[in-house]
Symmetry: C2
Subunit: 150 residues, 2 copies
Amino acid sequence: MNKTLIQELINRYITLTNDVWKRGEVLVREEIGSDLTNDQLYLLRYVNQHKQCTTTELAEVFFVQKSAISAIVNRLVEKNLMERSQDKEDRRIVVLSLTDEGKELYLKMESKIFKLVESFITQFNEKEITQFMQSYEKLAKILKDKMEEK
Amino acid sequence: MNKTLIQELINRYITLTNDVWKRGEVLVREEIGSDLTNDQLYLLRYVNQHKQCTTTELAEVFFVQKSAISAIVNRLVEKNLMERSQDKEDRRIVVLSLTDEGKELYLKMESKIFKLVESFITQFNEKEITQFMQSYEKLAKILKDKMEEK
DNA sequence: TATATTAGTTCAACACGTGAACTATTCACG
DNA sequence: CGTGAATAGTTCACGTGTTGAACTAATATA
């Protein structure tokens, strides 16, 4: 693969990622119609899917400092969507979970994402999806190894 | 495709996009070692690749308001990496371009991205890359149509 | 028991986002 | 023409997200 082709590939890839990601955010947010930011929704989503979730874990998953997570959690607690509780075994640990109101909003969001995906997934056949995801997984693994080799 | 499979697909896709994107940012920024933010680097990159670039165009590309672009451009101008000039034909238009210092930084960044991609692209064969990009393009087009159908 | 490590929060400072208010220029049409 | 609408862009206030340092509290280690 020559240099120009790689350059074109990089440009196209960066543009596509930006486009797909931002458009997805717009489409989901338009529908659920809450006053939450995207970051708040990602956190809400992750916490509901991974029980016994901690600040440290979230910081690692989203590649930010713990203080950044604290700030977002504070806003979600203020909005009565999330709550903190102490771990019985190790009292340093703060376990995060959604309130009933938070769970309700989570379900609304998931349902919207599902409908969105359902509406266009028919345009792909299963083999195409499998291949795409396999390549994507491979890419993710390569970058992960690269970051950890230091 | 049943409901559970779609849910798993969505989760895996969201995780992968977040992972790949953020890890790529970390790897590039570690190497070029400037004090610029990611957003500033994206703008720098876009402006150098698309001559005669305007605030309005950047706002559309990055899915933000024009005022957000103005703010970032201000910071890049302060750092002596970008400059504004007036269009001769239509004096409302502000044409953005990089200073020599900005171009130098751009080349440094591109070279780093290139080396990074080059180092792992050998692990994919050309057919796999072509198929991946085709599916990605298709996905981007579907989301674009969806957003415009309103 | 003393010290180091771990989990988490708060704070100041800065970057980024929006939407409203504003300036300046060009377009459209009676 | 001239006047109002549309377009390009900036500035501002305010809320949110991020870092890194300083801090509290609890647990692990030697």
